[in-house]
Symmetry: C2
Subunit: 211 residues, 2 copies
DNA sequence: TCCAAAATTACAAGGATTCCAAATTTGAGG
DNA sequence: CCTCAAATTTGGAATCCTTGTAATTTTGGA
């Protein structure tokens, strides 16, 4: 029982990547709605049944690596300096979130190899995918808030933690959206996101100081 | 051509209400996923085709009145006292949003007659409906931000308006969610929402004062 | 009463998703 | 190398949502 080495495991990873790659290619060529699950499976040389073994649905293929991103942020919170006060920590977390929101540029996802531009275009274009993305963000917020409370159990109660995370993420998203709708350049999108978080930070800092 | 009186129009409204009522009843009795579109149509004594004439999809039936709620908030912004400064206006808007978030209690929706408890339970339970609700919230935020900017074109730019609305709504939602997950009473849910908005207001007020 | 517009309907088709049982492949032990 | 149990894959049926179309019915006004 080799958990991460055996042939079986390697083959599974290869199939998984093949499915993601096939989906990305077809979505780019024909669009999301015009691509059928059967076509993706065929392009990856597996049956449709197998596709559903790997992903819960057509939309899940695009969000295959989301747990990875979230884990990065959760680790950032968990591994904080135990002596750092909440107020300055929130400032650093803000920077971290800005970085996480960055994938506006022309790169490709580290884990899945999906071009960020494709993902972004699909999320803003296809209602079904926008909805999926929003659900993931909400779940991420939940966990971030929980981690924040766990990091400062005596100084930040669950409710305040949720409010702080919600304010930061909500402001960041809204501001970012405005910039994206203006078709601004990546640098400007990041600046807009930063501005949004900065607006929220006014209240977040105050909440972090008042235990 | 009587726009809102004729028999034709009245009959349409009746059919619409019948569909919503049938859906609400069946969702309550058998659950959302277990209820088919055909069953809803049959219970309302129309064909499935007609159901799709009235609603874009099964999930839309539950959100039939959302435009109404949003319009209320938009009117609140549009009809502000032209001389009121942004900072105090935002305080009043905050109260307004808390009220809008209130439907936690045991009442039923004014427009559709759907019990708030049913809607809330379904939204938190069925992923598809949660996603739909989140998309509606995002769209509402967009319009609120636009209205806010329109109300104070010289003092609140679009980006800051979006950030303010995003922070308030994000914080309110997150905090409310925590309270709901604890199965708290309506009063406590409202208090939690208020707390969330209060956290966000710290930054929002500052942004409203800095033109 | 008669007509044109508006609604409703039946029906077919396409596609996502679930389920299940059969067939295949893999890993490990002998 | 051989064999077997477990893990994977697969084909295919079945259900349901959703869209599109063309026929039919209903409605309001002339």
């Amino acid at each position: 029982m080799e958990p991460s080495s055996g042939l079986r495991e390697r083959k599974k990873q290869r199939t998984r990547r093949a499915l993601i790659a096939a989906a990305a290619r077809l979505f780019t060529e024909k669009g999301y709605l015009q691509t059928t699950v059967a076509e993706i499976a065929a392009a990856a040389e597996v049956s449709s049944s197998t596709l559903f073994n790997y992903f819960a649905g057509k939309d899940d293929i695009l969000f295959a690596d989301d747990r990875y991103r979230l884990d990065t942020a959760l680790r950032f919170i968990a591994e904080r300096d135990p002596d750092e006060p909440p107020s300055t920590f929130m400032d650093r977390l803000a920077e971290q979130l800005i970085a996480a929101f960055t994938p506006t540029d022309g790169g490709t996802d580290e884990v899945t190899g999906i071009p960020n531009s494709l993902r972004l275009q699909l999320i803003t274009t296809v209602p079904e995918l926008q909805a999926r993305a929003l659900r993931l963000v909400q779940e991420a917020q939940r966990q971030l808030a929980e981690a924040l409370h766990a990091a400062y159990p005596d100084q930040v109660d669950r409710l305040t933690a949720a409010a702080m995370v919600g304010a930061m993420m909500g402001a960041a998203q809204s501001a970012r959206q405005v910039s994206l709708e203006r078709n601004e350049l990546p640098d400007q999108v990041i600046a807009a996101t930063r501005h949004g978080i900065e607006v929220a930070m006014g209240g977040v800092r105050a909440a972090a100081l008042r235990p």
